[in-house]
């Protein structure tokens, strides 16, 4: 047995405070956060424009959509799944909001509820395909990504539809307070509460860690799997509102490729694609880190083509750092 070396005989009898050890431990466990802080310091020195109030809010607004999608994605990844459809779900739900408002004349508040329900619905379909048809989530949501994007184009006929004032509120800045950032924070708190304090949230960790052991402990695996995709769908719908709100319209191509940023944020935040591990705070740091890198490179006048290269390297670096740390933990 490989774990034998760390067996029961191990005793932590050395409880004396060791500052070096503690710092090392903290750095190892919060690599993404340290990376973010270092990056911010470097940018503040190299580009004075970075550390201005306006720019910081700008970074926050840029991060908001990715972060909201990534919070939803965290549920799925913790449960050992993956959701490739979040970008497309954001698009279809915001398109449904815009369509029911502009073309069907429904009251603005009800269109938002319909939009959120649409996100939940598409999530539920992926979840049921995963739970009952035993489709791997990668396949189920790959299919859903195509279906949802296609339906968005069908509904909109490939043209943007303008949105109501209430939707535009989600992209606006009221008295200096950017609503996307507020929305992100609220969704982050909701996600953290679900993941840490509710039985369904704790079940996600259990199911992601060992599905069979969870089932044999009375946890409903199917219910958990479907719930995570419903939640991911709802979070995607909220992100869709923010995207549409900022553009004052629902765009048929909105959110294309956003699933990759969402997944990257979760993974940079320390979650394991094997399931059972992940934190909302980590995901948040991951999303902010991506936004800071993009923003910093913009300020430094690096072309957007090179930005993609840098983002790719950051993902590879962050995850390999994490993998190495885990290996070290396991001796």
């Amino acid at each position: 047995m490989s774990i034998q070396t760390k067996g029961s005989t191990m005793e932590v009898n050395n409880k004396t405070f060791d500052a070096g050890q503690t710092i090392k431990h903290f750095v190892a466990r919060n690599g993404a956060l340290i990376g973010l802080i270092v990056l911010c310091i470097v940018l503040a020195i190299c580009a004075p424009a970075f550390l201005t109030g306006a720019n910081i809010l700008n970074v926050g607004i840029q991060a908001a959509t990715t972060a909201i999608l990534a919070f939803g994605q965290t549920f799925v990844i913790v449960s050992a799944g993956i959701d490739l459809s979040v970008g497309a779900t954001a698009a279809i739900s915001s398109m449904i909001v815009a369509y029911t408002g502009a073309n069907m004349g429904l009251p603005a508040w009800s269109t938002i509820i319909i939009g959120l329900l649409a996100g939940a619905f598409f999530g539920a379909l992926s979840g049921m395909a995963n739970a009952y048809l035993k489709l791997p989530s990668f396949i189920a949501t790959l299919a859903m990504m195509s279906v949802a994007r296609g339906l968005t184009l069908v509904i909109s006929d490939g043209r943007p539809i303008s949105t109501s004032g209430l939707v535009n509120f989600f992209g606006s800045t009221i008295m200096g307070v950017p609503i996307p950032i507020v929305t992100m924070i609220i969704m982050g708190i909701i996600a953290a509460v679900i993941l840490n304090y509710t039985s369904i949230g704790r079940s996600m960790y259990a199911v992601g860690g060992n599905m069979e052991a969870s089932r044999l402990s009375g946890i409903s695996v199917h219910k958990t799997q479907i719930t995570v995709f419903i939640l991911s769908g709802i979070f995607a719908a909220v992100a869709g509102l923010v995207i549409a709100g900022r553009l004052h319209s629902a765009q048929p191509e909105a959110g294309t490729g956003y699933e990759m940023d969402a997944i990257a944020s979760v993974v940079i935040g320390g979650a394991s694609l094997a399931g059972g591990k992940g934190r909302i705070s980590g995901t948040f740091v991951g999303a902010i880190l991506l936004a800071v890198i993009r923003n910093g490179l913009n300020i430094l006048n690096v072309s957007s083509f090179w930005q993609q290269v840098v983002i790719g390297l950051v993902i590879a670096f962050a995850v390999s750092f994490d993998t190495l740390r885990r290996k070290e933990d396991a001796h």
Binding site: Q4, T5, M10, S199, L216, G276
Partner: protein
């Protein structure tokens, strides 16, 4: 002349000395047995021999000269090869390709198949294995795969062979084959290190035994040392009673199973388990023991029949309902079915009660934390901290966590499937004490086990299953190894009813002697351990 010696080696991880000042010597033509409970440091010692770890203190000598072994490759060049418990092979590739894995003979950049074939045939001949070398590896049984690994090591001129629990996955007959190969290798002056949890194998293969405990070197004794003496050295104390069953007062019927049927697995199974009673469920692999437990628990469905727990009928195929009725299952494989290895001890203990005690969907954290702390103390789980990941505990402590999950849920009926598999002697007794505790508090226990002495030692009543049916039901006082075994194979004597899932290779001939029955039983017992 000593080939390999570890001289006072230690290995430190973090704050703990996993191996502390251990000396071991390996002589040509001798088998040195390393003995110790899980966590005693055996694995770490062989990892130092094979270059995976380097000793933090002490040193390694080869032929009397001090060497450092920086990696596995260096160990191989020094003639040291390890046959791991999990074999390193590619099932889809042929035997010869596996023999030359990473080292394919080539001619002008292309694989030289004729050289590979002739060398492979030669290598198999060396250990007397008669197989077509172009056969895919996966078509061989575990024992033969292991022999191929040994052949590979010898082909690379290994003169020291480290066998890490080689018999864990073998049947009795396969073990005999392995032992005869070990005998041949001894004659060829190969020095061997042998690790096994089966004490009875030690006098059969070993020359000397070094006992480790908690990373410390305890003693080196001849392999002929009596088992009880070896256990004492391993555990550090006398185990006076291996099966400390304390019979409890028998109360009302807590579990009633009535004509349970599932096509191809269970046939007309009926029995009762009373409060305070431990009922042992014996039988061969494939007799339907696990299937019965899983059906009662709701993990698998069944075609007809009824399960009643303390007077309440339990719906089939619903684990949450079974748990609500007071049933718990300690499954046969704790790693894949019992625990979330990456999660903490606390989270694992709380897994069965988290949902039933939740309020408005929120986990009742203070209640759970309290109960988790209390359970871990009561069960004497050895850990540094309740937030430690369960995967870092020893096998026995992991099993206690699985038990704790159900004692925390206050189950009335506990179903145990191979409760002490892979658990050390010392921890095993602690688990038996837990069973006593459960029945003393009026619980009922149904224990399926392939370990016949355990069934006879810990049960109040024994049920024997054979071919999906109950073939015997007797108080433990009337049960003997022989009577249980002949009931366990009773369906096989009636050749018409040999069912599909009994392993046909293991069906003994008619006119069974108690000896051959014993072997059949043992073969099956070993077979489970894969």
């Amino acid at each position: 002349m000593t080939r390999l010696s570890l001289v006072g080696v230690s290995k430190i991880f973090g704050n703990s000395k996993v191996v502390d000042n251990v000396s071991v010597t390996v002589d040509p033509g001798k088998v040195h047995v390393l003995l110790g409970e899980n966590g005693a440091g055996k694995s770490t010692v062989i990892k130092m021999m094979s270059g995976i770890y380097q000793p933090d203190e002490g040193h390694i000598e080869i032929d009397g000269e001090e060497v450092t072994i920086p990696n596995v490759d260096a160990a191989r060049r020094l003639g040291i090869a390890v046959i791991h418990q999990e074999l390193n092979m590619v099932g889809e590739l042929s035997i010869m390709e596996n023999l030359f894995l990473g080292n394919l003979p080539t001619k002008a950049g292309f694989v030289d198949r004729s050289t590979m074939r002739s060398k492979a045939i030669e290598a198999l001949k060396m250990i007397g294995l008669d197989e077509d070398v172009s056969k895919p590896m996966k078509e061989l049984g575990v024992a033969r795969q292991q022999m191929v690994e040994i052949a590979k090591a010898l082909m690379q001129n290994a003169s020291i062979l480290i066998l890490d629990e080689p018999t864990a996955a073998l049947t009795q007959n396969e073990c005999q084959q392995l032992f005869s190969i070990i005998g041949q290798l001894k004659a060829k002056n190969v020095g061997m290190v042998f690790i096994s949890h089966h004490l009875d194998e030690i006098p059969k293969v070993g020359d000397v035994v070094t006992v480790l405990r908690d990373g410390q070197y305890i003693d080196t004794v001849p392999a002929s040392t009596p088992e009880s003496e070896l256990v004492k050295l391993m555990v550090g104390r006398n185990i006076t009673n291996q099966y400390p069953r304390k019979a409890a007062e028998r109360g009302r019927v807590l579990l009633k199973v009535d004509s349970l049927n599932r096509a191809g697995a269970i046939e007309d199974v009926s029995f009762e388990v009373h409060a305070g009673e431990v009922v042992g469920l014996a039988g061969l692999v494939g007799a339907g023991r696990t299937e019965v437990l899983r059906a009662i628990f709701g993990a698998d469905s069944y075609d007809s029949g009824e399960v009643t727990v303390d007077g309440t009928r339990v719906a089939k195929n619903s684990i949450p309902q079974s748990i609500a009725a007071g049933v718990g299952l300690v499954p046969e494989d704790r790693h894949t079915q019992g625990l979330v290895l990456g999660a903490s001890v606390a989270d694992n203990l709380g897994m069965a009660t988290m949902i039933p005690t939740a309020k408005f969907g929120f986990v009742n954290r203070s209640l759970q934390r309290n109960n988790e702390g209390e359970t871990s103390r009561k069960l004497n789980i050895h850990m540094s901290d309740i937030n430690q990941s369960v995967g870092s505990l020893s096998g026995g402590n992991q099993q206690k966590v699985v038990f704790g999950k159900w004692t925390m849920a206050h189950v009335k009926v506990l179903l145990l499937d191979e409760p002490t598999r892979g658990v050390d002697v010392g921890a095993r007794v602690e688990i038996y004490e837990l069973i006593n505790e459960i029945t003393a508090h009026g619980g009922a226990v149904l224990m399926a086990s392939s370990d016949l002495p355990e069934v006879l030692g810990m049960s109040d009543r024994v049920l024997v299953m054979s071919g999906g049916r109950i073939s015997g039901d007797m108080p433990v006082s009337e049960a003997t190894q022989e009577s249980v075994m002949s009931l366990a194979v009773s369906h096989m004597q009636d050749s018409d009813s040999v069912d599909s899932h009994s392993n046909s290779a293991d069906i003994p001939p008619k006119g069974l002697t108690s000896d051959s029955l014993q072997n059949t039983y043992e073969d099956n017992r070993e077979g489970v351990l894969q």
